[in-house]
């Protein structure tokens, strides 16, 4: 029998999750890459939602706060002036009724918000048989996706309804069965044709995009299905309705302790160190800081350089005592739990590995089986 570890990601399992807002940071950082065009100069004043950067592939980045810019070769640093009303205003659309495909694409292009380093509008150039909205918190003990849904369920459902209508495609909104938003999303989605809500009983790793698609829709190839998450949908909503980007982000901050789990609503580009120093009483340097999937053991070595971005979903602060790797006891649990049936002890690791980290999680010897230096312990 296949060994599985069911991460329910249920709030009941945790106890309570504190919601925190960190929307008025001291500074935000927008990192620059080759080919980026900066729309400001050093010392300029900038308003919230004002364009800062356009990338080589037309992705646009807006200032999440109002303040003063300091431009260097690889970064735009914006120091907050804490003026709440310094916001770039845009006209809002009263309803989605008169939006057709062309207008949809134009509005998305104009705002230029992005997903995975591509402009959002690019994703809608192709034809799909299905759009899958992955509303599950992807990795264990993350609660940020459900926080987005909780805050914006109506807007998200309205947007997927619009997408389904103008692109004539089925939309499946998938949530885990333990998600408290399930009922609300189901009733909202009922109002739109072509949108259905699926409750997923399985937990991680089936919440990963690729495994989720293969589990629910094995009949479709990868190019037939567009997978988006609720934040992407909310970005579309905001672009269509207000012609504005979404500068807020949600990050789960957990102290690897059921009594200290936070979902922090903050701004794009805020330093993680600033967030952590504000909400956590202990000095983070006494701990390992893991990003996103704690089981993958990706240690964040330089917290000063880490800022909130789309790829930053969770921060886990783990006490660095007593979790050093020791020699493998050959218990074979890593082999048993691997969802794709490879041997995690093999070196080098098979190219099929999805790096879910379950092997690390079950390892009693605390060996990081995803790393090259595991050889000394295996």
């Amino acid at each position: 029998m296949k060994l599985t570890y069911k991460f329910k990601n249920s709030e009941a399992e945790i106890g309570s999750i504190d919601k925190k807002e960190y929307l008025d940071p001291e500074k935000v950082y927008i990192y620059l890459k080759n080919g980026d065009r900066i729309k400001l100069e050093d010392g300029d004043k900038v308003k919230e939602n004002e364009l800062v950067r356009v990338s080589y592939n037309n992705r646009k980045t807006y200032s999440p706060i109002s303040g003063t810019c300091h431009v260097t070769d690889n970064c735009v640093e914006i120091t907050n002036d804490h003026k709440k009303n310094e916001t770039k205003e845009k006209e809002s659309l009263k309803s989605f009724d008169d939006i057709d495909r062309n207008k949809f694409m134009k509005l998305l292009h104009d705002v230029g918000d992005s997903v995975n380093n591509h402009e959002l509008a690019d994703y809608f150039e192709d034809n799909y048989k299905l759009i899958l909205v992955n509303g599950c918190d992807i990795e264990p003990y993350q609660f940020n996706i459900r926080a987005i849904i909780k805050d914006h369920a109506e807007e998200i459902c309205e947007t997927v309804g619009l997408i389904s209508k103008i692109f004539n495609v089925d939309v499946d909104f998938v949530l885990t069965s333990s998600d408290p938003n399930l009922k609300k999303v189901s009733s909202e989605a009922d109002r739109y044709n072509g949108v259905k809500v699926t409750s997923l009983n399985e937990g991680f790793p089936y919440t990963l995009d690729s495994l989720l698609k293969d589990k629910l829709y094995p009949q479709y190839s990868d190019k037939d299905v567009l997978i988006l998450d609720p934040l992407d949908i909310y970005k579309i909503y905001k672009a269509l309705k207000y012609q504005l980007p979404v500068t807020e982000r949600y990050v789960t901050v957990s102290y690897a302790d059921k009594d200290r789990v936070y979902v922090v609503k903050t701004k794009y580009g805020v330093s993680l160190k600033e967030i952590l120093s504000d909400i956590l009483p202990d000095d983070p340097s006494n701990h390992y800081i893991y990003l996103n999937n704690f089981m993958r053991k990706t240690i964040c070595t330089n917290l000063d350089l880490m800022v909130v971005a789309d790829q930053v979903r969770a921060v886990f602060i783990v006490d660095n005592k007593g979790i050093d790797p020791i020699d493998c006891i050959k218990c074979g649990k890593c082999v048993q739990i691997c969802p794709i049936d490879i041997n995690p002890m093999a070196s080098p690791l098979s190219g099929d590995c999805i790096r879910c980290g379950l092997c690390n999680f079950v390892c009693p010897s605390n060996i990081n089986l995803l790393e090259e230096n595991k050889k000394e312990h295996v």
Binding site: F294, I323, D327, K330, C331, G332, P364
Partner: protein, 299 residues
Amino acid sequence: MKKDFFSNNKILFKINLLYLIALIPIIIFSYLKNGLAVYQAHKISFFGSLQYLCIPILIVILVYCLEILWFVYIKKDKDFDDVINSSVPLICCLCYLVSGPRDSLFITVPLIVVTMFITKFLKKVSINQVALFNVVLYGILYALGLANNANFLEASQATNYSLMQSFIGYGVGAIGVTSGLLGIIGYIILLFNPYYKKSIPLYCIIFYFVIAGTMAVFKADVTITDVLVGMFNNGIIFASVFVAALSIYSPMMSSGKLAYGMLFGLIAGILVAIGLGGVSPYIAILFASIVTPLLDRIK
């Protein structure tokens, strides 16, 4: 939510502790069988009878002390984690229990200490050290003409025991290994260890029984009952539960575990048939552990 996101290093200590707990009924049984019964027959003093209870405990304490010496004073480790996690005290305790003929402690105890240091150098080699210990010990005892596995009761009474009596633990064999019942109780306790390879003892016992039973069919004077009695007296159950399933020396893959059980059954079955008795399962385990890396490659 799992309180600690990662196993802390105490998990290995807990695994070792569970092994020791599973061994406690056998330690008590060995005392009753080899100590108390002999004392009641007025063959040894009461204090002499206690050796079977005290020596396993003293060996564990002694070897933990040696581990502290090794890790803290020789390897200069800053904390006691390696000492706490060490499986050597457990292995040594097992070695004593599975082998300990009552008159050969002058060989057994030094050999346990030697085993401990061999452990340090054979860390990366898949040789089951408990099995190796036993094969070497039996070899030495045979060479010195001291091989006498008979416990006092069996040796003095030379009774033919029924199947049920053999299952409970009456029978000729080394200390503590003759009880099928206690082996099964130990197995149930070990099932609480999530890292225990529970299928290996089952495969070993089943394949041994199949091989020994098949051989019995071709022998006119051997019945299935004799095969079962032999299984209890030769320590097959004990060796399968406590020695064969030691995780570091046995396969991880499902097919490898099956092949390991088949190999064990085949070798042990043949060796018992040719009269090697109590050392048979250890030779089988020793050989199977050496080929474990190959068995893990079986798809």
